[in-house]
Symmetry: C2
Amino acid sequence: MPSHESKRHARRRLALLRRIGRGDRARAAWITNPPDIRYLAGCREGAGGLLLLPGGGAVLFTSPMFEHTIRAAAPGVEVCVPGRAAPRAAAARLKTDGVRGALAFQEDTMRVSVARAFRQAMRGRRLVELGRAVAEERAVKDEAELALIRRCVRIAEAAFRGLLAGGARSALGRTEKDLAADLEYRMRRLGADRQAFPANGIIVAAGPGAADCHHEPTDRKVRAGEPLLFDWGAELDGYRCDITRTVFPREVPPEWRACYADVLRAHREAAARLRAGARCRAVHQAAVDVLKSAGRGPMRHGLGHGIGLEVHEAPGLGARPGKGRDARLRKNMVVTVEPGVYLDGKGGIRIEDDYLVTAGGAQRLTRLPQTLARAVLP
Amino acid sequence: MPSHESKRHARRRLALLRRIGRGDRARAAWITNPPDIRYLAGCREGAGGLLLLPGGGAVLFTSPMFEHTIRAAAPGVEVCVPGRAAPRAAAARLKTDGVRGALAFQEDTMRVSVARAFRQAMRGRRLVELGRAVAEERAVKDEAELALIRRCVRIAEAAFRGLLAGGARSALGRTEKDLAADLEYRMRRLGADRQAFPANGIIVAAGPGAADCHHEPTDRKVRAGEPLLFDWGAELDGYRCDITRTVFPREVPPEWRACYADVLRAHREAAARLRAGARCRAVHQAAVDVLKSAGRGPMRHGLGHGIGLEVHEAPGLGARPGKGRDARLRKNMVVTVEPGVYLDGKGGIRIEDDYLVTAGGAQRLTRLPQTLARAVLP
């Protein structure tokens, strides 16, 4: 890894320490959430914990199984192999270094048994919950992160165009599973590390399955007159994009045409509200209002979410975005906008794009056409 | 889902309730670990919790986003949509049903904040930790589970044979990423839902990367004279297999030939100890002893693990298998045996097969040849 990568991670550690050092809080931190460790030290997996020391130095605790890899992946930090006793080793290190005062840690995302062992190892030291500090740092992307997300978008879009190069009708008769496997393989041949959704993979839903927001592809074949929904993304160096398009392989039944128009209006209305300083909740509400006034009922999910090292990360664009009702967008956040309407037993429409929040608005990172006419023939 | 599936889940719930009802323990349980919910109710994701009632009845708590899917996936259980207040709704339900006494729950795998909210909702009721109860039930497979695992093995092996149909030398010059993507696509075209490893996917490691037990495929090209390691599996209806083969695209350097022979001896020595009643730790030790006496140093990981709804599940075949040092194999457990030797900077050898534990021994479920000679030309 080039040294400008190490410097980037060191800058992030310093920014985090500044954030948590405000007021009566901590000068050091114990990071255990894996994507947070990746963000702050560059190593992909296998670390039991990352100890951030005052000044930005850091010690990664790992097992013998990962030692070699982690040394290579995180050249800017110290590596320590204490076996399972990482919290005790971290406590000893803080003493050796003469670090006094509180230690911030991520109790909220720890399993109960791990939190208990950690508290025991750190006995005598004041512990404060890190809360959303790392999530809030991660929500604002730097240039390197934006470049990776843009590359993910290019790959995901090119793969989709390739998949439907013969027009949406070329999907007729193919199964959801077949289309999902093909789309993923195309993204990988275009350079993606993998598809972007760790839990259940790419969604391809033909007909009724499109009413299920997290549909898992089946052997159902694509038929004319039904919506065909794709929700997919590419992952590269840990970063990812997240796109949804709903197409119709041949004719578009009038009821779906009307539904598509409502979802697209909701999407555009909400996207027009994106800008640094906007309330996350208000952006969500803009889409909800459009769908409500069109008689489409309540939306089943939040309007969108941040993307980066995780497919769902801060900020949340929903009725309850994070802890505060007043969470606001900041410049260089990257968020999805993905309103949807679902008709159980029939299908659904969702249109999702990724946006970079700017001072005066937002830049759409995805470039696939949004309109139904062009979605039929990409 | 056919009704014999519902009956199977009901049987599993009853077996679990019997297990936790022994002695002074609970008559009801609150299940939150997703693969455990899948095992006991059949639903794939989206459930906030599963309440097991005395007698084997069950209530699944979910959100509006998943309601329709969950009703379809889990026809044998009641579905309740309480929003985020699932623990409070569960507490109310226990009262309404007149269920007295302790409630078992999975605090150990809960996040601290979730455990806190749960304890608050259940105030006034004695709570007992479920511990390894579900893991121990899941470790022993029934016929339906075995059939799925066998199908995963068939798919994974056929895909591998197809990938190297031109002999191992046909991989020369291809990148690790390309081979991994190709192998996964082949498994999916053969009917797999996806590859089996949720965290980082299939491992393809050419040369030095094979020393990293969890290597992520890169753009490195396969070269002659270096080990080429594949660690892969197929997933079907939630179940999976897990196989590793190390091949040499052309000539086998003498040092690697000797290393391969040691790993194969360790594998066979350990596999010969598999049988119902054997100590997990002793099976692991058998492989460690072979490698030690061959001067290969300590093994970096446990010898193997159970496979099923998760790629790593009970029983663990390691120096510290689970909580007890005396954990023993039981009939119809399915475990991997996967000793490895790793030389940092050069590569590694690992040979992994899946075994079904029987009364008097074990049946190897994987059928790919194990020997180096045949591994070169599958």
